[in-house]
Structure formats: C-alpha cells, structure tokens
Amino acid sequence: MLSEITLGQYFPGNSFVHRLDPRTKILATLIYIVAIFLADSPLAYGLLIAFAALVIGVSRLPVGMVLKSLKPIWIIIIITMLIHMFTAPGENIIFAWKFFKVTEEGLILGTKMALRLVLLLLFSSVLTFTTSPIVLTDGIEKLLRPFKCIGVPAHELAMMMTIALRFIPTLLEETDRIMKAQTARGADFSSGNLLERAKNMLPLLVPLFVSAFRRAEELAIAMESRCYRGGEGRTRMHELAYKGIDHTAFAAVLVLVFSLVALRWGAGLCAL
C-alpha cells in the first residue's frame, strides 16, 4: 500500500528539468506558488495551467504518474472546494435545499481554490520527481547558508534530512518485521477502542524506539570514526553551480510572473 503513493518520489531521468540546479528548481517552485495567488482571471489561470503543462512536458515524466501524486490528497481538494462553494456569500443562487445554497460566486470561488491547490501540488511534485533527495538536500543547504548568521543551522538540517532519507526504508522494514513477530505471539493491532489500541501498539512501538536509539548511537560512533565533526571545513563531492539552462529557466518563470502582474494590474497601470 505504501508503494502506491507517488508523492515525494524521485523518477530518474536526464531531461531539461532533471538537469537544472536544485536551487533553481526550489526557487522556481516557490515563485510559481506565489504566482498562483496573483491570478484572478480565467486567462491568468489558463496561463498557469499552460506553464505547468509545459514544465511537465519538458520534464518527460509520465503524465499519469504526475497526476497520481494528487491521489493521497484528493479528499482535501474536494473538501476545500465544497467549503468555499457553500460558505461564499453571493446573490445568484443556482441551487438551494433547506439551508444549503450554492451561488454562482461560491461555485467560482470553490473551483478557483481547488485549482490553486491542484496546481501547487502538481508543480511541487515535479520538483521532487525530477530531483534526487540527496541533491534536493544539497540545494536546501546551499540556499539556507546565507541565513546561518541569524542562527539557521543549515548544515545540521541538511545532515538530518540525509540521514532520515537513508533510514526511512530501513525503519519501515523493521516495523514490518516486529509487527510480524508480535502477531505471531498473538498481538492484535487492529481491534478495540482508541485507548486499548494505543496500549496494543506498545509491543510494536517500544522495540521500534529501542532499535532506533541503538541505530542512532551506532551511527554516531561510525560517523565519528569517519572523521565527521560538523559542517566546518567540509567539502562536497558535488559542488553546485548555475549553468546556462538555469538562466533560461529563471527567465521563463520571470516571464510568467510579469504576465500575471500585467494581467492583474495592467489595466490599472495603463489608466494611470
């Protein structure tokens, strides 16, 4: 079941998007997310959708797989849509039953909100599909480095992410193993009320924590043995460097933002 979730997975490839510097991709994604909230006309939304489609196309990812990343959260999307549909104030009632009413304004607002969420998710999933977790971590570390002077522990955060990525599969396997062992001893993880269930989880959680702590301790010793002493004076095998394609990508994102700004305030600016 866990293997069905595609959100956050890396899909190796060598497309234009794959080859971009991770910092470019992270910044472009952030700018795109801001841009989503600049849009207020159908044309602007059309532009955003077209841009997302362009990026997915250029990345050569299977479209079905990208869309599948919406699967775990489609329920949130629908709830967002419904809440806006039913609660937005408006005059033009399309449908009413008892105290439920759907107005034209509500329908438009709901659709907008859902669309924003979908675009946001699709665009960020392209980021994770085209960037290996390790490279992504490198990018985050590099981007956060300037904030070190105000106390952001950039290296430590990145190291924590690296280790987490390495150990998630190991701990999942371990969970599976302990669950089987306790099931064989007659443990029951699925019945009873909330309190009973929490208590029934102890035979799983205690060994899991004990093992995680043991692993952490052993890993720390192994890291020390390999001369790890924090971020000071460390070099990297992959030094990140912006290339020509990164400038192209930034230019494309800026064109999008300017178009959206023009669409929203262009008329007003012209009138001035």
């Binding site: 062992a181 099931t183 064989a184 007659g186």
Partner: protein, 285 residues
C-alpha cells in the same frame, strides 16, 4: 497430526516492476515430533516458506492446513490452529518490549487466553527450559541483560505459548560458540521433553547435519531435495555446491581421509564417533 502445504505459490509485489516469485509450487508435510532443517541461500524463499506455517503470509495459490484445518480462515478454529505454531524470528531479542522479563514472556500466553495460573506455570517452565533462573531474572528489566540472555528471554516468550510446532529462524545468529551450543542444547531438551516439532531455518550445514532428522533444500522457491541430511550431503554434494550450499566440515574431513585410503564410514556427524571410527579402521585401541 501435521502441518501440510499443498501446492503453495507466493509472489512479492505482484503487478509491479519489482515482482519476485518467492515460492513456486511447494508441497510439504511436517509431522508432529520431527526435527526438520530448512537450508537455502539468502533469497531462496525459505523465510517466505516458514512464514506460511502460521499464516503470517497467506498463499496466493494453494493451501496450508494444520491437522486438516485451513489456517487462512478468519474463524476461531483457524486462529487456534495458527497458534499451535510458535515462531522465533531472526534476532528475536529485537521484539522484546515489556518492563520485566516475566511480563515479556507472559505476553504470548496471555494473548492465547490462558488463565493467570496457567500463564504463571508456562512462564516458569519456559524460563527453566532456556536456562534462566526464575528468582534471579523474572523481575529484572530485559533491556539490561546480555545479548545471549535477551535471546533466551525472546525464545522463552514463544515457548511459553506452548506450541506443538516451533519454528526457529537462525536461532544462533550472532552468538559466540559457547552461547550457540547452549541455545541448541536447550532446543533439543525442549524437543525431547515436550515432543514438539522443531523447524530449524539455518545457514549452517553443521547444525543441519548435527540436529535434524530430515532436511529440505530450497532454491529459487522450489524444494530441491527432501530427505535425511546424511543422504543429501553424501549423494548430492555437487548440486548443493551449485546452489551456494556446502557440506558440513565433518563430511569434508571424512571425504579427505577416504581419499587417502582410510575407509571412514559415511554419515558421521559427531567428533567422538569419527575418532572411534578412525581408531577402528587403523586397528588402534
């Protein structure tokens, strides 16, 4: 009284690119009271096979029955049948969770619904089987014991469920020679006194030759050989080596001696016996 696997098939991650067939038409009967060793290299399917014995994995095709009861069912009869099979996983000390040795060992019997007196009796018996003194250890925290002692607590936790069949997946892994021998001595005593069947999954040809009545060799999800360890090791040496297995050291030594013209009897698994045999052949007293 037996566990029967009839034409069992199992595949991991069906329908994905990672699909891997683990068991391919396996049929097997394990009789009550026998000692069966299962050998095969890592990934041969032996772990998948033993997890079928108590329903932790359900066959994709085929059937597993214990005393003719299909254990795949949801009813209480199937559940009771599954509970007749105790399972000691690799590194079983990693499943210890309770605050005291007593509570950890009592976990299984309590889940089986034994009365308080019955639980107490089973815990005491199980501890004595694995050589842990009740007065000394019952109220101690299992997390402060040595590795070998923790292994014994975990094995006792399964023994206390009073199973008819005990499956052990590499019970000696990671132990030093002294603890290895002690653990096997305890398992053999358990077999002798309670008459329970032992299914031993092992990488050690020596253990299989020394302890098992019967041995099956698994390769690529199929049973390659099923028979007496002595027969398999003597008659199928080349096939065993081809699938990454080996012959026990004592067989190797016997073969070397025979090649030198010393007529050592086949199938000796004990050092004392080999020494006697050498003396006999050489005409020494």
């Amino acid at each position: 009284m037996s566990i029967k696997l009839a034409n069992v098939f199992y595949t991991y991650m069906t329908g994905t690119p990672f699909e891997r067939q683990a068991l391919n038409d396996v049929s097997l009967t394990i009789a009550k009271g026998e000692i069966l060793a299962i050998i095969g290299h890592t990934g041969s399917g032996k772990s998948t096979l033993v997890q079928h014995l108590n329903g932790l994995i359900k066959p994709l095709r085929g059937k597993v029955t214990i005393n003719d009861i299909d254990i795949a069912g949801r009813g209480s009869e199937a559940k009771a049948a599954r509970q007749q099979v105790g399972m000691v996983f690799q590194y079983p000390e990693h499943q210890i969770f309770a605050e005291t040795v007593y509570d950890d060992i009592a976990f299984g019997p309590r889940n089986r619904g034994f009365s308080a007196e019955e639980v107490d009796k089973q815990v005491r018996e199980a501890m004595s089987f694995v050589g842990l003194d009740f007065e000394t250890f019952a109220e101690r925290s299992p997390f402060q014991l040595s590795g070998g002692q923790m292994r014994r607590v975990a094995i006792a936790g399964v023994v206390a469920m009073n199973p008819d069949y005990l499956v052990l997946d590499e019970p000696s892994a990671g132990l030093d020679p002294r603890s290895r021998n002690a653990v096997f001595k305890e398992i053999m005593a358990l077999h002798k006194e309670r008459g329970i069947a032992i299914v031993l999954v092992t990488h050690s040809m020596e253990e299989a030759a020394k302890y098992a009545h019967r041995m099956i060799v698994i390769n690529k999800g199929k049973i390659l050989f099923d028979g007496k360890p002595a027969d398999i090791f003597s008659n199928h040496k080349d096939e065993l080596i081809a699938v990454g297995m080996d012959e026990p050291p004592i067989y190797k030594l016997s073969v070397t001696l025979r090649a030198k013209g010393l007529e050592i009897a086949a199938g000796i698994t004990d050092v004392g016996e080999l020494v006697k045999n050498i003396k006999k052949v050489k005409g020494w007293r």
